[in-house]
């Protein structure tokens, strides 16, 4: 999975491209370390080109979300596809995240 991070003064955005599955999760977790460190800001996960997510990816999202809750920041998820929305629904993640679809 490709991860590209950009930032402004108030927010940090990570664009996730590809599959967030078990084999890719460890690397993705490391690449998202800057977001963990900036969890007092607005964290934006751009999932426009994310094709798939499994429980190991959900763990990463929830860890970020917990960190943001503890530090006073927030997590916004941009553009998830129908299959990923289904996974979010199945796991109650729809209620835990602010999700914006363009």
């Amino acid at each position: 999975m490709e991860v590209t991070i950009t930032q402004t003064e108030q927010s940090m955005t990570a664009k996730l491209v590809g599959r967030l599955d078990t084999p890719s999760s460890q690397e993705v977790s490391q690449k998202l370390e800057p977001l963990m460190e900036n969890a007092d800001k607005e964290l934006i996960l751009d999932c426009t080109e994310m094709s798939y997510i499994s429980s190991s990816g959900l763990r990463i999202l929830l860890t970020l979300r917990k960190q943001a809750a503890a530090k006073g920041g927030k997590v916004v998820i941009l553009n998830i596809n129908d299959e990923i929305r289904q996974v979010f629904m199945m796991t109650g993640f729809l209620n835990l995240f602010e999700i914006k679809n363009a």
Partner: protein
Amino acid sequence: MFVKTKAFMESKLVLDNDIQQIPQLAEFIDGIAEQAGLDMSVSMSLNLAMEEAVSNVMLYAYPQGSKRQVQIDATVQDGTIKFVISDSGIPFDPTAKQDANIDLSVEDRPIGGLGIYMVKQIMDTVNYEYKDGKNILTLTKSIK
């Protein structure tokens, strides 16, 4: 147009207990889904359930660093798809785990436990048995 669908189909895949082989599993499932004429969303759900069940075996069934195998047998018959996942690792029943509570708040939600929960949500039946020194997990789903 006349479309002939296969009434019976059987395939087998053997993987090492190496998480980097998960893409081969995805390819295997996609192949079966295509032959069985399943739509994209069912195919994706099956992929997810199987990734969760098989990666669980790869990560936890054997001592770290040992090179062992996990076998996946897939059967499509009478409108049902069946996967049998077997390994000769330590006895472990993933179905015994209590279901995740998905209504908890951000603060109270545990980080883990969603993998097997999703397997149960996606599949119609999930059965575990330990037989002849093997963990055997059988998953079925109606695809009619």
